[in-house]
Symmetry: C3
Subunit: 370 residues, 3 copies
């Protein structure tokens, strides 16, 4: 867990099982994984660490097959029929465009009806309801909770609470504080596997920017343990270097990495450059303003130093990290990466609801790859 | 009507029929009921007083049958087909989680498409539109208006306005000021009838907390006239005792009640304890802070004094009125009460659209009770 | 273009093609029209000037046929099946009731799934994303963007950006600053053609109120070039007279108009009176307060001076421009005008997606006009 994660109880009084939760939350993640699985498959999607290579491959296959199926209208109708009797809550306490819209689109693709809370002022938490009670309430009405919260750990707490409740429903973490953003990591893996010749194994991936507070690079780093001979370079300003917990994780899994404050000279060796924005929404005392971020920009002039097949990625939104003149370069895949997110999230939801086989059994139109 | 109801015109100028409305509004409720009925059944759902025993029984039967039908996917599809050509407006000027989500879910279950306004800043009322014109506008696009408003009487005014308009659509009151919340009362009755052995007749129901400003206990009290030999106890702090209009109603219908400021000693005799939150959002000068509310809490230690079949209910959200340790007790039915609300509202909407017979004619899967 | 249009870049840095856009934006509208068409039909719907008489007639026919089809449930189901595999973004940066709800209803009628952003605080533009990037992101997930923006020209900019992008999707302008509101003009034309005996040709139309800043009257004026022998009267306070660009357009197309500050004496000669509200949301220094708007009110006493077939129209919301006592007069068509908007927008969306023939080929039930 990152140093800047924290639990901020929504309720002042002691809620049921508060101490139990504290103990659970602090436990090593490997001991938790079975809590969030059912019937031999992932139930709550909370951390990148829940995904092994087999599962990643299956989700990618599922996403690809869905894309192929929906090349014809009959395929759209088939997918929309699958979960038309289900309802999902999109609970977003932080602003979001991409994650919100792609999850909502994923629900639409599968026929899931969506209820949303984006403005907490319109909900009963302002009447003093505890976070746990709000989650139990959602579970009274819906079959799935997709949640983004500014407090790290709260998606996990929601899942933990609901798993002990009268009517459990799966929880999908759509970004938790500065901690994790596992579905972003899934779509990043999907993008890398889809466009890198031969996939991720043996490649050199350069992550650039505010690595300390960028939860996407944190989540992506965890997933690297599923690939062979990957080399990572973390290029960040001194103040925003990758947190020690990730570095320790990489050491433990013997994944090669190095850290630098200068990335342009590395570009000729990179197979993928993952650019990120400065995360100043997590500033506590204006620390972002003290940093010169301009050495961490990618400009048109750098393109000529890069390999012909190298990928330029970004979780978006961008500011000036990537010059817009780069958008037209075939190596710039961030817009496709964005759309890959919609399909990967669709695949994940289908998987969580046990529909992997049903979808794969549905034939793709001739000429479309599965 | 409660003393703290008031009409606050959204429009400064005199709108059409303003005096007529004032006269209508002040009339006795018994003279109004036919105005809000059509084809021999309820059309606008505004007050608890619109529901007699026969109607309550029919709605409960309808809700139960829908639950049975949807044990199989074919039943979900059947219900969703019923009103797929209809659109509903959810117009909520007050924060709401439960009522909003359960009505939205009810719409989804019946296939109704939903349009929502929860943040009035995004609507044209800020351009100076009158309340009546806004309602007429909704009626131009949708087939049903579900509305929560902080001003008592406005749901009734909407229904009254639309009934005289070019394109009338039904209005459902989802909570009007400190006055009424009839669908909450319906789900409370449903819960009492469902779980009390032998139903409500002859039972002793204890209502606890801020009874003055809690519209749920007001609406529930009205419905008690439909049951035999019910005894009520109102346990409230001096400052928040049940309003005289309700007490007069009970006297008129010869329903036995008593008032107290101490409820723990009554627990051994209670068949249902209906706890409520202090409604400080209705404070005008911090009156809630002057009251010691702690004598109106239910704690784990009180459970042992209660009957084995006694129900513990709460409209939710709760603060500290019910200790979370009680959640696991089988007599604690508030989470089931919440979900009952979704089904009761689904039944009500189906009823308003004249689908009672259509739904009941649809067979439930073998082994499910209708 | 109106004098009060302006481009206000959402992004401080220079975005790709900024100069190209500036050049394009300033060009004469006649040179732009092909940019926003595909396959011989309108693709992006941005300006009134895109609609010729033939297209207006076709859209009206389509709207009428849809209304006829949906007199029976089978017709609702047919329409809802047409675009059930499509998703639309409703992006509204300005408050709106009518336009928002009618577009949303139009989407529901055609089965289109809707994603909405009405509160920009919940989107990533607050993280410093450029307007162009936000549009490209929408295009990653949806098949259509319907947008209202307080900055004139931004809908056009969105369409221009997306037409050059990897995944173009059509853009519909739902109101751009004080400039245009083309779909309002379409529904106004539909209303005039539908209720005026013999249609618009040869009629006298009086537009009243804040003509300077009312984008509906601007857009409607442009469409007048499609009709023969129309006479226009613009009745406005001195400070809010129709802008010169519109007057020049009318001169160029030899459409007869006159301007006045007194409209009551003209009423006996009017075939349609189009009332408008003072647009004080566009005030920059309280200019609305300095104007006596009361000479531009229509009151019950004026009805007797009007022709029996004359139409009273208003884009709504109204304040006091039209006394509510007029609502019951058969010549008051503003509520029907509002509902016409829903159907005209449904027709437009069907048209943009190439469904004109498919819809017209679907038989209307016997006795319904097509």
């Amino acid at each position: 867990m990152s140093a800047n994660t924290e639990i901020q109880p929504a309720h002042q009084g002691k809620t049921m099982g508060h101490n139990e939760w504290e103990t659970f939350y602090k436990a090593d993640i490997s001991t938790k994984l079975h809590t969030f699985s059912r019937d031999g498959r992932i139930y709550d999607c909370l951390f990148s660490q829940q995904f092994d290579r087999n599962l990643l491959d299956r989700l990618i296959r599922l996403a690809n097959h869905m894309r192929a199926i929906t090349k014809v209208r009959e395929g759209d109708d088939f997918l929309q029929s699958l979960l038309a009797h289900r309802r999902a809550m999109l609970y977003f306490s932080q602003p979001s465009t991409r994650t919100f819209l792609s999850f909502m689109s994923a629900c639409h693709i599968l026929g899931i009806k969506v209820l949303e809370i984006r403005d907490l002022k319109t909900s009963s938490q302002i009447k003093g309801e505890s976070f746990e009670d709000t989650m139990l309430t959602f579970a009274s009405y819906v079959d799935l909770i997709i949640m983004r919260h500014h407090v790290a750990g709260l998606a996990e707490k929601a899942a933990w609470t609901l798993n002990r409740a009268h009517r459990p429903v799966p929880v999908v973490n759509a970004g938790s504080g500065a901690d994790q953003h596992p579905t972003q990591a899934l779509l990043d893996i999907y993008t890398l596997q889809r466009y890198l010749p031969g996939g991720i194994d043996g490649k050199h991936i350069v992550m650039v920017g505010d690595l300390k507070r960028g939860r996407t690079v944190r989540s992506l780093s965890y997933l690297m343990k599923n690939f062979s001979d990957v080399r990572l370079t973390f290029a960040a300003p001194e103040a925003f270097r990758m947190e020690p917990d990730i570095l320790e994780f990489l050491d433990r899994h013997m994944i090669h990495y190095r850290q630098t404050e200068e990335f342009h000279s590395i570009l000729p060796d990179a197979d993928a450059v993952y650019m990120t924005r400065i995360q100043d929404e997590h500033d506590t005392s204006g620390e972002s303003k003290k940093v010169d971020y301009s050495p961490f920009y990618l400009k048109g002039e750098h393109l000529k130093t890069m390999k012909p097949h190298a990928l330029i990625m970004h979780p978006l939104p961008r500011r000036e990290e990537i010059a817009t003149e780069i958008d037209g370069d075939p190596r710039a895949v961030y817009w496709r990466q964005e759309r890959n997110g919609m399909w990967m999230r669709t695949a994940l939801l289908a998987f969580v609801f046990g529909l992997e086989k049903t979808v794969l059994d549905h034939p793709a139109p001739a000429g479309e790859r599965g």
